[in-house]
Symmetry: C2
Subunit: 228 residues, 2 copies
């Protein structure tokens, strides 16, 4: 539904600020999205609750544009080959050197399944047949929703992409649990192996797994074990 859904009045919500008041701090906006200048006209913006809204937004008083910031989707796969899954060692921060499932930001113009397939190709050089959505995990403190699809590896011609140091197929017994990059990956893999052991992957009787991760991760470069 379109842009106007966000531009019209909201009468309820967790954040209630007096419309029109200029806000000098921005606890509700991610740092990376803090806007100083209007992307439409180049004038300085102010942070305030627009008339009829209930959240602070970056507003341009020169051209009138209201700039919205919304969460983003990180989409990936659980690439399966016989009894093994394919994992990638990260070549970038955060969590450089830790292992993960192939995943990345969904781009405009693509579907979630297309994004999952593309990220798997880009990060692991792997061609997959994307199956059902397996997990959806909210990570509100970083303004992200993580989605992981079941996927079948089409061949073993895999290779690390520019964001990976290494890719490898592992049995459940060889998953480097203490060196996994993100709680969302840990939870997804735990659910996957539990469902597989119970036969729920084979007969597609598993339920979509959901989880809200409400605490920040440990320091990104530490080797501390993270738990979902």
């Amino acid at each position: 539904m379109a842009r106007t859904l966000c531009m019209t009045r909201r009468t309820a919500g967790a954040i209630q600020k007096r419309p029109g008041a200029v806000i000098h701090l921005a606890p509700f906006l991610p740092n990376a999205s803090l806007m100083k200048f209007c992307s439409n006209c180049g004038h300085a913006v102010v942070l305030r609750v627009p008339e009829g809204d209930n959240r602070p937004r970056s507003v341009c008083d020169s051209c009138g544009t209201i700039h919205y910031v919304n969460p983003r989707n990180v989409v990936g796969t659980i690439p399966v080959w016989e009894d093994k899954i394919l994992i990638c060692k990260r070549a970038i921060e955060p969590r450089y050197g830790f292992w993960t499932l192939p995943a990345g930001f969904m781009e405009i113009g693509e579907t979630t399944a297309q994004a999952a397939s593309r990220e798997t190709l880009e990060e692991a050089g792997a061609r997959v047949e994307v199956g059902e959505l397996f997990s959806m995990l909210n990570v509100p403190h970083v303004h992200q929703v993580h989605l992981f699809y079941l996927a079948r590896l089409l061949d073993l011609d895999v290779a690390p992409g520019e964001e990976s140091l290494e890719v490898k197929l592992v049995d459940e017994a060889d998953v480097p649990w203490d060196d996994l990059a993100f709680p969302t990956v840990i939870h997804t893999l735990r659910c996957f192996f539990a469902d597989r052991a119970a036969g729920r992957i084979a007969d597609s009787s598993f339920r979509l797994h959901t989880l809200d991760i409400d605490k920040p991760m440990r320091p990104l470069t530490s080797r501390a074990t993270v738990t979902p």
Copy 2:
């Protein structure tokens, strides 16, 4: 996973442009997101494929910022009271005067279920207990993912919010199919009634419903019937 995922190299993808070439048209960016000035420093931006990327981005040659645009989530509920569901008549464009399920853009700092609950309160004045995710529908031509949750209305104290002209409880027989606002709502409701008739809502045996809607909607103010 963080911003850097998008800033590093991508070696495969549907769109391959020579890195560094300035692109003067922006078929890959939604109009509303076309950036003219850098939101960090106020200088004019150019549209080009950054080094190590494979998609055109708005890039600032003054401060070096690369500006990304990603799809957004529209999240809502199917609010159920006994045999009826709650629907809203839209007071805003697009599709002013058409009926919809309560839904809207997910905001930063909240989970998908929190967004669904908040939008239901804002658009229909309705308090709900949010249940399982029921449908996930990709609408790539408007850069959106629509998510609808099952929800149980907690009371009948409902009222149209500022974005609704009217709210009402309807039986399946009274759903205004020809006057529903969006294909995603039509598909979600069809699946809901089919699952309910088959007993799959009562025993939670339904599967997550997914659909990719790959064609633009009919003119937004027409009364033409839209189909999923």
